[in-house]
């Protein structure tokens, strides 16, 4: 079992490194490997290196770190809620960010990427906290089902309000439809460089949380006797998920499905132990994201956004797994 897990991680590491380089080279203007390396090292100057440093490097970096963040927050959510259907969006992060951005577009006239980032990030964090507070209000210990229902309810309300505002104001609607379709083409290295430390902090927090979350899966009583406090663990997990996927949504817009699907496959490939699921998700979620991004650049001339391609690459895999042999099915359940 252990060798099998290490092989999965090894393959993932190599594939991810390859995809990262390919992602820098492929696009409207294909560039050879030598040019890519030289530009990264700062040895050449010119239009080619500008393309790489200003457009493709931010894209590849947010694909790498953003993908990892989505995969890890999905794994955390599914373990915390003990529900394989949970994804980071269930905390209401996308709906909260969407409402904040809609309000910003409609009433504050925001347009600059940095302001957009701030609105979206604040909206995501505030919503996650609201969901958490509602789910623990008046109960002795946190309950995953209450948490999911609270997330669904808050998310539904916020997206209802956002679409109400957008439908009354065509200009807002026009900006929202592009914001809603998340894209890795952020074209701004400083934003990405600001996001990477946040994601790294989140990843470290996730690793620290792996052991208490594993303990929680054995039941609250067992966890308590192992020295885990369910309430503290839920709060910390939620903050981590909000930090990770809130950052991604703030930089790239909502990207669905990755955080749901990759942890599924992780459980099938390396088992339910979070200490293995986290590294697996860390490697394979960016693989899915970078693959989709590259495919989106190749399929049509005008480029397809990553949030659109992801589902078309990921969903068939999920369908095959769901229909597949019984071992895969039991692992998924």
């Amino acid at each position: 079992m252990k060798a099998g897990r290490l092989i999965w991680l090894g393959i993932g590491l190599i594939a991810l490194a390859l995809l990262f380089v390919v992602s820098l080279g492929i696009g409207a203007k294909p560039l050879p490997l030598q040019v890519v390396i030289d530009s990264l090292l700062g040895r050449v100057d010119g239009p080619d290196s500008t393309i790489i440093l200003q457009s493709r490097l931010p894209r590849a970096l947010i694909g790498l770190f953003g993908g990892a963040a989505l995969g890890i927050s999905g794994a955390l959510m599914q373990t915390l809620t003990r529900n394989p259907l949970a994804d980071p969006g269930i905390v209401g992060i996308n709906a909260g960010a969407g409402l904040a951005v809609t309000l910003g577009f409609a009433f504050a006239g925001i347009s600059q990427p940095h302001v957009l980032f701030a609105y979206s990030f604040a909206g995501a964090l505030a919503t996650a906290m609201l969901v958490h507070l509602i789910s623990i209000k008046g109960v002795a210990k946190p309950d995953p089902v209450r948490f999911i229902l609270a997330g669904l309810a808050v998310g539904a309300m916020m997206s209802g309000i956002s679409s109400g505002i957008a439908l009354l104001q065509p200009a807002v609607f026009n900006r929202m439809r592009f914001w809603m379709a998340g894209s890795l083409d952020v074209g701004d290295l400083t934003l990405v460089l600001a996001a990477i430390p946040l994601i790294c902090i989140g990843c470290i927090a996730a690793l620290v949380l792996a052991r208490p979350l594993n303990a929680l899966e054995m039941g609250d009583d067992m966890a308590a006797s192992l020295g885990t406090n369910p309430l503290k663990t839920q709060t910390a997990t939620l903050l981590t998920v909000a930090l990770l996927s809130g950052t991604v949504t703030a930089v790239a817009g909502p990207i669905g499905f990755v955080g749901l699907m990759i942890p599924y496959i992780a459980r099938w490939a390396v088992g339910p132990d979070l200490r293995w699921m986290l590294p697996f998700s860390f490697l394979y979620a960016p693989i899915l994201l970078l693959c989709s991004d590259i495919a989106g650049r190749l399929i049509v001339a005008g480029e397809l956004r990553v949030s659109i391609v992801t589902a078309f690459i990921g969903a068939p895999v999920l369908i095959l797994l769901a229909r597949g042999n019984s071992t895969a099915r039991t692992a998924l359940q």
Partner: protein
């Protein structure tokens, strides 16, 4: 209160007609139906020309002056009638799906109908600039095709709840992505009219539009009530239902067909109105104090909910008239939060 929990028997216990009814269910359903009708007459009086309760009643009974009669019967009545019928249809289909999946989060959405219908509408509006009839056909075609695909992909020596949910999620994710692509490639004008449809609205309802879907919904609900006994047996679990002589596979297929038919008829008329199918069965369950699904009470609850939400959507923010789907989603969210907080304390 215990006397309310009696069971009454219509017909003979061994006869051809033997219908067992819980007294509480009957009373709750009748009260809800009466409430829906009173609310309907009240809402008929609302609008730019407010009418009194008595005026509305006289218009309904054909004793009012022609002008009032036209406002009430031709302009306002189609919308109110549709709110009642479609609310009932959605409530009932929600009860069927929650009972099939044995999960309070079950709704016709899991089989991907609404997402597929939205795809069909986006295609007809954005790619073909279709008119009203084509939009309706697009919605029906897209939704039904998606439901069939999800069902067939989930079929592997029978249908199993969890597999159905997973495949529903995967297919819906692909369609959502495709919808998103259509949304950002189409012109703002066409996409916005598609989005207005997608929000679910009873605005501009006329008799001509209302009647086909009203007939389909009524037929579907009658079929449903005919299957009510089987729903109760299915809730005991597949093994138990089979032991009681029920053909589990075909019953499940029939329930799903009727459930989808109800949603399809409703969606064709108004666009997807979310949340009614999710909430109505849950509210009805609590009112009837039962753990099983109550089809009639769910239908009546759905009618009251949709009528109320539509009145709010139409009149609260006047002169703006919001799509009712946006109101149901917001009120629905609040209601679910209230339930959560109330259950805790």
């Amino acid at each position: 209160m215990t006397s309310l929990n009696r069971t009454i028997l219509l017909g003979n216990i061994d006869g051809r007609i033997n219908l067992r009814l819980q007294l509480r269910h009957v009373i709750v359903s009748v009260l809800l139906a009466v409430m829906a009708l009173i609310l309907a007459v009240f809402v008929l009086g609302l609008g730019t020309l407010p009418l009194s309760f008595a005026d509305t009643l006289s218009a309904l009974s054909g004793r009012a002056n022609p002008r009032t009669a036209m406002i009430v019967l031709d302009w306002r009545l189609p919308r109110i009638t549709m709110a009642l019928i479609l609310g009932a249809a959605l409530g009932m289909s929600g009860a069927i799906f929650q009972s099939l999946i044995r999960n309070p989060l079950g709704s016709p959405d899991i089989i991907g109908f609404n997402t597929g219908a939205y795809t069909g509408v986006l295609i007809t509006i954005v790619l073909f600039h279709g008119d009203h009839v084509m939009i309706t056909l697009g919605a029906l075609g897209g939704g039904l095709l998606t439901a069939v695909i999800v069902y067939l992909l989930s079929w592997r020596q029978g249908i199993q709840g969890f597999r159905l949910i997973m495949i529903g999620i995967a297919v819906s994710a692909m369609l959502t992505a495709f919808n998103m692509w259509l949304m950002i490639t189409g012109s703002l004008e066409t996409v916005m009219s598609a989005a207005l449809w997608g929000a679910g609205s009873l605005n501009g309802m006329t008799w001509a539009r209302a009647i086909p879907s009203a007939i389909a919904c009524t037929l579907g609900m009658c079929l449903c009530l005919g299957l009510a006994r089987r729903v109760r047996m299915m809730e005991m679990g597949d093994d138990m239902a089979g032991a009681l002589g029920l053909s589990v596979g075909s019953t499940r297929l029939w329930l799903m067909i009727v459930g989808v038919m109800l949603v399809a008829a409703a969606t064709a008329a108004t666009g997807p109105v979310v949340f009614i199918a999710l909430a109505a069965p849950q509210i009805a369950q609590r009112l009837c104090r039962t753990r099983s699904m109550t089809l009639a009470a769910s239908a009546c609850t759905g009618a009251v909910l949709l009528l109320g939400a539509d009145a709010v959507a139409q009149h609260l923010f006047s002169p703006f008239s919001l799509p009712v789907g946006i109101v149901t989603v917001s009120i629905g969210g609040l209601y679910m939060l209230w339930l959560l907080v109330r259950d805790a304390s």
